[in-house]
């Protein structure tokens, strides 16, 4: 797959958005809306809160467009702002998050038909419970690591925390997740891969 034309397109979209082209800006929003919305959704635990957060992130982007250097920088900038905004909201109103079975993620709404999807559903349920219990910073680390597939160094930069703190958040969250899955009899201790040092 040749990525060159796509990169050129998105770079040109960014340039045109900086020049005031609303259509190009809309293109940038469409390009990154899933990522930003999902960060908000998994951190705040609700669709409305996620939409509100995503809107605020894109408003901020609109005001700061001239500081965006490239399309890669744009992705990093959006992830950083979305995660930090979500952390701020969780810290300001820690009891307003809506992690519950009523607001469970859409991927959990439709029951899977085969065994493999069943495992995924159970994992998603355990994950959903875990996310509701994690501290804001730890939630952000997990979302950036496993949803956005970012490396530890980038997460540390985005969240302005030491690399070792990021690693420790990941390790503790994975341990807690394993515990939840064992507790729910989803997997047995023998099925678990050995913990990495």
């Amino acid at each position: 797959m040749n990525l060159q034309p796509a990169n050129a397109d998105t770079d040109s979209m960014l340039r045109r958005a900086c020049e005031g082209d609303a259509t190009a800006f809309a293109g940038l929003v469409r390009l990154h809306q899933s990522s930003v919305y999902s960060i908000g959704y998994r951190m705040l635990g609700g669709r409305d809160a996620a939409q509100d957060l995503a809107q605020d992130v894109f408003f901020q982007l609109y005001r700061k467009l001239d500081s965006i250097e490239s399309i890669d920088h744009l992705g990093f900038w959006l992830r950083r702002v979305a995660a930090n905004l979500a952390i701020d909201r969780l810290r300001r109103a820690p009891f307003t998050t809506t992690y519950s079975l009523d607001t469970i993620a859409p991927e959990l709404a439709d029951p899977p038909s085969n065994d493999e999807s069943g495992e995924d559903l159970l994992m998603a349920r355990a994950l959903w419970k875990l996310m509701g219990e994690l501290a804001p910073a730890a939630r952000a680390v997990m979302v950036l690591r496993y949803q956005e597939d970012r490396d530890v160094a980038e997460i540390a930069t985005a969240l302005d925390m030491p690399v070792n703190t990021v690693k420790s958040h990941i390790k503790r969250s994975l341990t807690a997740l394993r515990g939840k899955m064992i507790g729910a009899q989803l997997i047995t201790a023998e099925d678990l891969p050995e913990e990495r040092p």
Binding site: C18, E19, G20, A22, F25, A26, V29, R30, Q33, S34, S35, Y37, S38, Y41, R42, R47, A50, Q51, A54, Q55, F58, F59, Y62, R63, L65, D66, A105, P106, E107, E119, D120, M123, A124, L127, M142, V143, Y146, Q147, E148, D149, L174, L177, R178, M181, I187, D191, L192, P193
Partner: protein, 129 residues
Amino acid sequence: MSEDIENQLRRAMRPLDPPEGFAERVLRALPERGPRATLASVAVLHPAPRAKLWRRLAGPTALAASFVIAIVMGHYVAEYQADKERRAGLEASRELMDALRVTSKKLDQAYEAVNRPPPSPPAAEENRS
């Protein structure tokens, strides 16, 4: 089940699409909560170089102005203080001169009183004649 928990986690955390029409709603809301997405508003969002230059220079200019004002005020205060001291000195000098003049007068009077020849007794004159 033996699949790496991290891969399972990645699958469980796939990015989700926002509700239909999200991008359009963001764009529609921009004029209400932010500048309008037109070329004119872009001029506001991205101010002209002159405005940017002024914004960049505002801080240093204010600092320099404060510095100049502090120097001028300092100079004025120092001058006022010196003038006050000079006047006090002149006043003290004048008072000293007055005091010396009075003292000198008193000394002259005392000197005259001491050196004046005693008057001759009239009774002795009469006896001699």
